[in-house]
Symmetry: C2
Subunit: 455 residues, 2 copies
């Protein structure tokens, strides 16, 4: 049995949905499909989730939002007509949206959450109906009825362990099951959405729950690439990579998945296959537990901007047992997590993700480092990017760090930070944001230039 998840662009229109149902019905193993809300049909289109956000905000501000509601309904009507469905499905969706608008608005976050989740939910209903019309046994599955229970943390749902047992019972159902992605339910029955990468998370949880043989993740690229195609021209395709590699790459800014989306599948050791809805014949990228890495110890290069460094200097710091701990305590008091902490004899740096910082937090941290730790100097520097070179074979291959630093230097880029020594599958570099693309191109040239496909 396979669980297949389809993203927003794969479901943006009747035409796209037909591709999806063709894919689903072409393989009897594709028993469960997890769907996103309809995405953009073209670059200047608006995806349904954004229409729903507009609808919710207008309603909150003005107490009514007839035009915005009509715009959402029209998107579904357009799809339903293209699929040859009866008008009653459109009416069902319109009634559903009206009942969601009637939800208690005193908690705006919860109001918006249940409205946004309608994008996936109604799309699942449309697709189930279309499969039925085509003559297949198919069923829309409500996440609460399927037992997809999550923590009651709006916008950041975490799956509860018992959900897996409930989901396993989906195996008993006949035909094709269509499940909306992006949300689950708390034990108290409240709809709660997942963080970034929501539909991928649902797919991954369902695949783990039903103990699928494979989790297929359909998107709009033929495979995962070794580097960002916006930075490197025609980067080579990755045919096979490990969970660890995928996790490190997506953590460091790889766009395909949010770094935690695949965790449930990884933990259940279910192979993940990334495929293209628009070209389902392409073999895609398999994400598995282990791979041979003799020919390509390095599999990918990821990068992310927006890092800051807290630099701290104190004479004889290395003699002061507890200095590093006290420094991390000050950072922790601001609820900021850190990325790396390289250290010298009399100085240490802490690298942080900018998104967690505010001018007030920065001021408080620096003041406390000076006052409480008696540092001789402490300041924050902004504008760093972190580059991560990832590959299962890196740790055992002599010379990777040498080739990587050389490749970066030859681009005229100064390496501000190197972090190697803990992870066996990655090596990370800090550079100034302005030179990160040059550094990536240099690394790509060094490790991938003569390859087309990474086996």
């Amino acid at each position: 049995m396979k669980v297949a998840k389809f993203g927003g662009t794969s479901l943006a229109s009747a035409e796209q949905i037909k591709k999806v149902t063709n894919i689903v019905t072409a393989d009897n193993d594709r028993k469960i499909i997890v769907v996103s809300a309809p995405g953009k049909r073209s670059d200047d289109d608006t995806k349904v989730t954004d229409l729903l956000i507009g609808l919710g905000e207008t309603y909150l501000n003005e107490g009514k939002a007839d035009d915005a509601l009509a715009a959402v309904v029209e998107r579904y009507r357009d799809i339903a007509e293209g699929l040859g469905l009866d008008d009653d499905i459109v009416k069902t969706i319109k009634d559903d949206l009206k009942s969601r608008l009637a939800y208690d608005t005193s908690n705006e976050g919860q109001f918006m959450d249940q409205l946004k989740a309608s994008g996936e939910d109604n799309n699942a209903k449309v697709i189930a109906r279309f499969l039925q019309r085509l003559g297949y046994t198919a069923e829309y599955v409500h996440p609460e009825q399927a037992g997809l229970f999550v923590s009651d943390t709006p916008g950041n749902a975490q799956v509860l362990p018992e959900a897996y047992d409930h989901l396993y019972k989906l195996r008993d159902k006949d035909g094709i099951l269509v499940i909306p992605g992006f949300f689950g339910y708390s034990k108290e029955g409240r709809l709660v959405t997942f963080p970034r990468g929501g539909s991928d998370i649902t797919g991954s949880i369902v695949a783990a729950g039903v103990k699928a043989d494979m989790y297929e993740n359909f998107t709009d690229v033929d495979s995962v690439f070794a580097a960002n195609p916006k930075v490197v021209d025609e980067p080579c395709s990755i045919k096979r990579m490990t969970y660890r590699e995928m996790r490190e790459l997506s953590y460091a800014g790889f766009g395909v998945f949010h770094d935690e989306a695949l965790i449930p599948a990884f933990q259940s050791n279910i192979p993940v296959c990334v495929k293209n809805t628009n070209n389902p014949e392409a073999s895609g990228t398999m994400i598995i537990n282990e791979r041979e890495y003799a020919t390509n110890p390095v599999i990918g290069i990821a990068a992310d901007k927006g890092f800051s460094t807290i630099y701290v200097r104190k004479y004889l710091m290395n003699r002061e047992v507890g200095f590093g701990r006290k420094l991390l305590e000050i950072i922790e008091d601001e609820e900021v997590s850190y990325e790396h902490m390289p250290s010298g004899i009399d100085d240490t740096s802490v690298i942080l993700d900018d998104s967690q910082l505010t001018p007030e937090k920065e001021d408080r941290m620096i003041r406390r480092i000076i006052d409480e730790l008696n540092a001789d100097d402490a300041y924050i520097e902004k504008g760093f990017a972190m580059i991560m070179l990832v590959g299962e074979g890196m740790h055992e291959t002599v010379g990777i760090a040498s080739r990587a630093t050389k490749a970066i230097s030859e681009q005229g880029v100064n390496i501000e930070m190197i972090n190697q020594g803990s992870s066996e599958v990655s090596l990370s570099f800090g550079v100034h944001e302005s030179s990160v693309d040059d550094a990536i191109r240099g690394l790509y040239e060094e490790f991938f230039s003569e390859k087309k496909v990474l086996q």
Copy 2:
């Protein structure tokens, strides 16, 4: 005014002491000399400090130690005769040693401390007497009378700030002042020895106290070398280096100084000159505040063995605010300080100096990391060496890390850890102990092979 410190090999025999007095009297600025105990006259000789330790241990075990006492007295008699001094100096020394043996033995540490310190103390008396015999105005200076007050921490004396004001008054004295190195006195009048590098510390403190124009440190090499001569054949000489460079190099196992010995001189901005007693014409190595580094951004390579790594893996570690702080707290509870802490997404390593570890401490740390931090895995790996590449110009020179990693890799050495990003003047690597010499030779070849003297 110059303060000159002479090490044990410079004062091992009458012949050596004559070289020293020639050096001292050749320059009127050399007003204060700080002396070690007589060192080894040849490779298979025993230095006086070790004779004194043997004397103390025999006395503690057997309640008497006539032979051992005679052996020490004989060393001084030999020197005194070679210098043409009267026998009364030998009698003075013998009486001094007897009175030290009569010291309270209930605190063995203090008993041994005051006995060991006699090596420097009596040597200073001999040298002052010899200078007087040569017709110079010279005086033995007792550290307590000079006000060299230190913390009451046996074997780990730290100078008290007021000592500098007392020492400044030494400027008022006439002639050459001879001060024994290695110890000071607590405010309660107890003799307390300095940690490793004791005589260097005394010289540095005295130079700072009297606001000397220069602190000359006489040893048995013409200069400081860019790498360990036992690993690299005829390494090139360093003519000029900065305090920071010296401090980083000596921290990482450079033999010339203990890394903190020169701090008082550094803090008072007094130039330090390392010179050779056996070849005083050689210009030596100047250690100063700043240097030009255009031609040689890297100045030296140091290395030290005996490091361990605590490896900790926990799924989603990067999401857990406070993990690093809690880990360092566990290590701190064992009174262990750490060197570096490289980190990945789900794992982190802490690099520690083996000398601080015991099997019990290791067990407790690992158990607490598993139990209290819920780590998925935690273990200690031994047998690492840290290599430090040091130079003021490194931070501003693109490509240093690249050349360094390449040079190490070309020796077939795998780099286990790289730490760059905090110190502006160093870059450190972790390798297995068995391959550290190969790595050093590779680095030397890359950065120094075509140079003879580093300006």
